[in-house]
Symmetry: C2
Subunit: 307 residues, 2 copies
């Protein structure tokens, strides 16, 4: 395995791409390229959660795919270990469109180094959680538009698929909580992503992938929990509905038990028993089965020693 952490922006320690590139061997694909998955952790654009990072990459490795973890621009710049519900100051360098452009940079880097890493650059999937699912869906909606292209300074890499876990996809249909922890968290999340707690209608629309679906949007696998009290489960259904109405391919699963942020919902992403939920953990197998026909490895008819 090639495991290293690369900076994506000169002078910025907080925007990084960690590689989980599988070893090549004459006994395996013998120099042929494999699909890859780029993992975007969540954390409300305030931090990037470790629970939705390395363990997820390893899960895709175990399926036979290269994997990468992107730590994109967030308000805490990688120096704070969690949400920042009391945040009051925005950061122009980490707010929109910075996180979206970081996805573009990561996709570009993977494609540029695909020869050395034996990545099939035509088959790079995004896998995002919560804010990372929003960011991945944003890239799906905007990768082929001036919003990304003009700032990236060149063509962006088409994502081959998107696996989206409990994200926000339509801010125009989101009723923000008005009191308590959730309200403070929402204000901070808006400050982090939008740079303001009172965003314009235009910005709200730009940040809602549901409203910008074209055939450029990748085939998508969406899932969430009915009991999510941080991002309403409707958000997943809005995107599924919009994809259906746009005639685009998708699969969706809503599990009845469980709240927000379960990651893989098994012990590999848990610190506590509250983060383990076997019912929801089935999303991993479902996503694997969904991805498999699209991401089939280039296997020979017979092993080398029989050819």
């Amino acid at each position: 395995m090639i495991h290293e952490t690369l900076r994506l922006i000169e002078g910025r320690d907080d925007v990084t791409l960690a590689t989980y590139v599988l070893e090549d061997s004459p006994e395996l694909l013998g120099g042929k390229k494999r699909p890859a998955v780029l993992v975007c952790p969540g954390g409300g654009y305030m931090f990037c959660s470790d629970r939705e990072a390395e363990p997820v990459a390893l899960r895709f490795n175990a399926m036979g795919y290269h994997a990468f973890v992107l730590r994109y621009s967030v308000l805490g710049r990688g120096k704070t270990p969690g949400f920042l519900p009391g945040a009051t100051v925005a950061d122009p360098e980490t707010m929109h469109p910075a996180p979206l452009l970081d996805v573009a940079r990561a996709m570009r880097k993977i494609a540029d180094d695909s020869g050395a890493w034996l990545v099939d650059a035509g088959r790079i999937a995004l896998c995002g959680f919560s804010a990372g699912a929003h960011n991945a869906a944003m890239y799906g909606a905007w990768w082929n538009s001036p919003l990304v292209r003009d700032r990236l300074g060149g063509p962006a890499v088409k994502p081959a698929a998107a696996i989206l876990s409990y994200g926000m996809y339509d801010y125009t249909r989101f009723e923000a909580p008005t009191e308590g922890f959730a309200a403070n968290l929402r204000k901070a999340a808006n400050l982090a992503l939008m740079g303001t707690t009172t965003p314009s209608e235009e910005l709200i629309r730009t940040l809602s992938p549901c409203l910008h679906l074209t055939s450029d949007f990748p085939p998508a696998f969406l899932w969430a929990n009915r009991g999510d009290d941080l991002v309403p489960v409707q958000q997943t259904l809005y995107l599924a509905t919009a994809l259906a109405e746009a005639g685009l391919p998708f699969e969706t699963h809503v599990f009845e038990p469980g709240g927000h942020g379960l990651a893989l919902a098994d012990q590999s992403t848990a610190s506590s028993r509250m983060e383990v939920l076997p019912e929801a953990a089935r999303w991993g197998e479902l996503a694997e089965a969904w991805l498999k026909p699209r991401f089939a490895l280039p296997l020979e008819e017979k092993p080398a020693w029989m050819r």
Copy 2:
């Protein structure tokens, strides 16, 4: 992840331990230790198969366990990519007991560095394939005996469990093939492990873990394929029977379809479609379920932010 390849013997490049040590995080186990699995690839004591190495380690990583790959002493010394059916010269430095002692060294190294790696040294499992399964079973049988202790120069580390795939466990009940490729391969394998094609009865007995089962032998998970034409499926049944008769814990699965050397039997360990067999691939989930109660992670009641 800490991924590095360490030499286990001064001056020998061919005996190595590759680490797949999971990242710690306050969001995950926050400094608490995890169980680990030491993977021993197969290859008839002539080579160590890449198909039974990194992809298997990553599979255990995905379950939330640290993993290690041991490349132990083999006739080819890591310089030949496959079987050596025409071999005629033995190598005293790589034949028995060298491969067994390499397991002991690897277990010792993992235990010695368990503080830095956050490994629960009381819960290190062995996972071996074919010759690697034989080697792992040998360690299970002999780790607490002078054969290992006297040469290791100190106490050996007790294995917490053994996951054994399509291995040889009782040479006294093995009728070697007398002609064709299989006969040549068997001769070479005997030369590699035993240093001779005409081993003594005593050596044959020493190399048969079935004959040396005590309560030191770890709980075992054994599986094989009915259609194995290289190592007869009886070998797995002999060990299961011996464990049953000794009153020791085990689980065993024999799948009807499939031949020798399927590894994980899915695309992650395949070079060709002949190495993918969904029926047999179920052994991975079965082993995961078997291991889970023994290897439960030290999870808290609630996540840190709720405590």
